[in-house]
Amino acid sequence: SQQGEEDPQALSIQEGENATMNCSYKTSINNLQWYRQNSGRGLVHLILIRSNEREKHSGRLRVTLDTSKKSSSLLITASRAADTASYFCATPSTGSARQLTFGSGTQLTVLP
């Protein structure tokens, strides 16, 4: 069963704007990851945040984690057309810490 769920399902913004995607999960985790998938391609790892971290940055990406609310957000600043992709959060599966459970993703479209 899916652990993480992204919100919104789809997001369309203008180039240069910021994009925020949210992920909610159900059970306690020790880390949460975000992946990007361009159309027709495989997933690419973006960032991992651990349960003892509240915020993490990587370039134009900012990820937050609120373990009390069981939620995470991914912020992409100064978006570019090349950021158009699906974004997935992934959490360790409840049955096995070595497996990842992915949400259904947020489809981001950045208009030039």
């Binding site: 990851q33 027709g40 360790p92 070595r98 497996q99 990842l100 992915f102």
Partner: protein, 114 residues
């Protein structure tokens, strides 16, 4: 460094026919995963290998799906016979070992069953 390689990239078959997908993980990666991704959904794990051992295949429909990783490197996923509902993208991923949380994905094989 070469990434995860998958072939074929696309496959169209008629229902009831067999089909096989091949994956070559990143060199040195002991853990290999096969995922199924339906349109508009996230990947769902089918099977995970640690070297040549399948350590989690609980989500693999064993009546028609099979997988192998004989020498602990390349892997093959087979469907026999294929059904219309098997149309999806089959993704392969690898990680250095079971302790590494980050997975590296191949481009996937897009299967269409007619």
């Amino acid at each position: 460094e070469a990434g995860v390689v998958q072939s074929p990239r696309y496959k169209i078959i008629e229902k009831k026919q067999p089909v096989a997908f091949w994956c070559n993980p990143i060199s040195g990666h002991n853990t290999l995963y096969w995922y199924l991704q339906n349109l508009g959904q996230g990947p769902e794990l089918l099977i995970r290998y640690e070297n040549e051992e399948a350590v989690d295949d609980s989500q693999l429909p064993k009546d028609r799906f099979s997988a192998e990783r004989l020498k602990g490197v390349d892997s093959t996923l087979k469907i026999q016979p294929a059904e219309l509902g098997d149309s999806a993208v089959y993704l392969c991923a690898s990680s250095l070992d079971a302790r590494q949380e980050t997975q590296y994905f191949g481009p996937g094989t897009r299967l269409l069953v007619l």
